[in-house]
């Protein structure tokens, strides 16, 4: 044990190379973070682009984003539950139940869209509160509780849509979410707002810390982060603003899908909650060591219930997006592989199944991987069967990386 290290304040001056070294150390120590997902995305996109040039068209890019949107949002909610080391297997069908509520209120009751949306999200909140209460107060493992709910909600969707009929959605606002696009100018404006806002936040934070004599991120690192965001976002907006209609004279098709800024907003909100609020800190604490959290005066039961509420609430949002994309709700909305894809997305993105480690961004990275596999293999003409097998293999791989990095972290004492 070496106990002769500098006083806490006099840490080495932060530099770019220092940050890079720190990152490399963490990766070697088992904290792979977003690395596997980013690596996987690059490989998958390269392979699909070579094998199927149509993969790399603006039309397919826009399609891919709306295709992955619902699963990504459900995965974002799952991150909160996974952070506690719990699981919600019912999130898929919960989204189906909420989508059914939406469709019934819109189409059968003729209520305005905002009432239907509020009711759908409220349904999700109630579902989450019920699940969380059973898990926290009765102490039944969440795996069992939500497996029961998985079956129950599947039945509930069938009952709601009256045994297999399909309720179509004609409300223009709801349909627009996953089927309409921002005017190109607005896309650029939102991106500019995002980049400038991000840069301002980072700079202000660094200035404030430096003025108090605390270790601050070097300007070069901030510039690199902001630059990366600007370039990636710029390329995406540029491609999405290209004309992708086969017949532009008849109907023009350009712009960022409306669902994209919605997801970015949820990302910012979720990241803020997890990183900048005491509530988020306590979620990590309960996931890392529930007994320590309890001794610190944190109400562990309340944390569990709230995480399930957020998860099912986000599932409701996912259900609304799925209903929008299909312009209808049927007994299979939120069914089949939705839940497994969503759990897969979170885990592939780097959220741990063992609790205590995860970010909302993971859901987006992993959701994109899942969407790319689904989309690319579809373009190559593979059947659903093959797609399931491949996605299953990728999920297993991601869970394996998670377990191995934990082992490695335990061995090196890092995490």
């Amino acid at each position: 044990m070496t106990d002769t290290i500098a006083s806490p304040r006099a840490t080495e001056a932060p530099t770019i190379s220092g940050s890079v070294r720190g990152y490399a150390e963490r990766v070697r120590g088992g904290d792979m973070g977003a690395l596997p997902a980013v690596f996987g995305l690059v490989v998958l996109c390269t392979v699909f682009s070579i094998l199927r040039p149509s993969f790399l068209t603006p039309g397919n890019f826009a399609n891919l984003l709306t295709q992955g949107a619902a699963i990504t949002v459900i995965a974002m909610g799952l991150v909160f539950v996974l952070l506690l080391g719990e699981i919600d297997l019912s999130a898929g069908f919960a989204s189906g139940v909420c989508a059914s509520v939406l469709a019934i209120l819109l189409t059968e009751q003729g209520l305005p869209w905002y009432v239907a949306v509020a009711a759908a999200i409220l349904t999700g909140v109630v579902i989450g509160a019920a699940l969380g209460t059973v898990v926290a107060k009765l102490g039944i493992p969440s795996f069992v509780v939500t497996l029961a709910a998985f079956l129950g909600f599947q039945g509930l969707v069938l009952l709601l849509v009256k045994g297999g009929t399909n309720i179509s959605i004609r409300d223009q606002t709801i349909v627009a979410i996953a089927n309409k696009y921002l005017p190109p100018v607005l896309g650029w404006a939102l991106l500019a707002l995002g980049v400038v806002g991000y840069a301002a936040l980072q700079l202000l934070r660094a200035r404030k810390r430096a003025s108090r004599g605390l270790v601050a991120d070097p300007i070069a690192l901030i510039a690199a982060r902001v630059g990366a965001l600007a370039v990636l976002g710029g390329v995406a907006v540029y491609i999405l603003n290209l004309e992708r209609s086969r017949n532009p004279a008849v109907v023009s098709l350009t712009g960022v899908p409306i669902v994209v800024p919605i997801i970015v907003l949820l990302l910012v909100l979720g990241t803020f909650v997890l990183r900048r609020t005491a509530y988020g800190r306590h979620l990590y604490a309960v996931g890392g060591n529930a007994e320590a959290a309890r001794r610190a005066g944190i109400n562990v039961d309340r944390m569990k219930i709230s995480a399930f509420v957020i998860c099912s609430g986000m599932a409701a949002v996912g259900g609304i997006i799925a209903a929008s994309r299909a312009s209808s709700v049927d007994p299979n909305t939120g069914g089949s592989n939705v839940l497994l894809y969503a759990v897969g997305a979170a885990v592939i993105g780097g959220t741990s199944l063992f609790g205590g480690k995860g970010r909302v961004l993971d859901a987006i990275l992993g959701g994109t991987v899942v969407a790319v596999i689904e989309n690319g293999m579809g373009l190559m003409g593979y059947s659903s069967g093959v797609k399931y097998v491949v996605t299953g293999a990728v999920l297993l791989l991601a869970a394996g990386v998670d377990a191995l990095s934990r082992k490695r972290a335990a061995a090196t004492g890092l995490r």
């Binding site: 006083s7 810390r209 605390l214 270790v215 900048r276 005491a278 604490a285 005066g297 004492g413």
Partner: protein, 254 residues
């Protein structure tokens, strides 16, 4: 001098097993009280009752001379009682600052005030003359046993607490680190805090304590001034519950 913390007639059972029998215990400001006893005597259980981790079955709890109700860890913390548990209870996935402020984070509005917390944590570690960590932003999982112990102690003294209880803080430490922790214990008491130190090491106990309380099979065998007893007497109290006219007679306090 009135004790800052006093327990009277504490009983505590886990199911059918009664672990604490009619325990009296008092702690004085500016003093180190050593709590000794064999493994399983009930030391950690007593400490957890004080900290609000376990609810007592019966008994009275006085703080600054007034009866108080302790129903949760938060109640104890609000009185100014800080406990470094034997099993440390740190979150491996959080960094040092995050652990030190867990459950009592500083915020501005709803946003965490990381800078203030970082400054206060650094100042506390410095005031304890801790030079053992590379960065106070490193995860606790990357710390050695001694470093974790230091973080746990720093967490306890961060809060202008009145009573600090350390449950076997030196059990996993080397010679040099043990000396450091004992020095720290003495310094806290000299600053006017009431310190409770649980230890099996008689040399350590006699080196730093002002009073010794000996638990025997869940009963308080004796609570004496350290200067009034010898090593041998304390060992006898620990192993048989009595020593001469000190200790239990037929399982009841003399």
């Amino acid at each position: 001098m009135t004790p800052v913390l006093e327990l009277r007639g504490i009983d505590k059972s886990f199911g059918p097993v009664q672990v604490l029998h009619d325990v009296d215990f008092s702690v004085h400001p500016g003093e180190v009280t050593a709590l000794v006893g064999d493994n399983g005597a009930g030391k950690s259980t007593l400490v957890k009752c004080i900290g609000g981790i376990h609810a007592v079955d019966s008994g009275e709890y006085f703080f600054d001379g007034k009866t108080v109700q302790i129903n949760s860890p938060r109640d104890a913390a609000e009185l100014g009682i800080e406990i470094v548990y034997q099993d440390l209870a740190l979150c491996d996935n959080l960094d040092i600052v995050q652990n030190m402020f867990l459950g009592r984070e500083h915020r501005r509005g709803i946003v965490l005030d990381e800078d203030t917390m970082e400054e206060m944590a650094a100042r506390t570690l410095e005031s304890l003359s801790v030079r053992t960590v590379k960065s106070i932003r490193q995860h606790v999982s990357s710390l050695s046993g001694g470093q974790r112990q230091t973080v746990a102690i720093a967490k306890a003294v961060l809060w202008n607490s009145k009573v600090v209880i350390l449950d076997e803080p030196t059990a996993a430490l080397g010679v040099a680190q043990t000396a450091q922790v004992l020095e720290l214990v003495r310094r806290l008491a000299d600053q006017g805090l009431a310190v409770v130190l649980i230890s099996h090491n008689m040399n350590d106990v006699f080196a730093v304590s002002d009073r010794i309380a000996a638990l025997y099979l869940g009963r308080m065998a004796a609570q004496v001034r350290t200067s009034d007893v010898t090593h041998a007497q304390v060992v006898e109290l620990i192993t048989s519950g009595r020593s001469g006219d000190l200790g239990l007679t037929n399982g009841v306090s003399a």
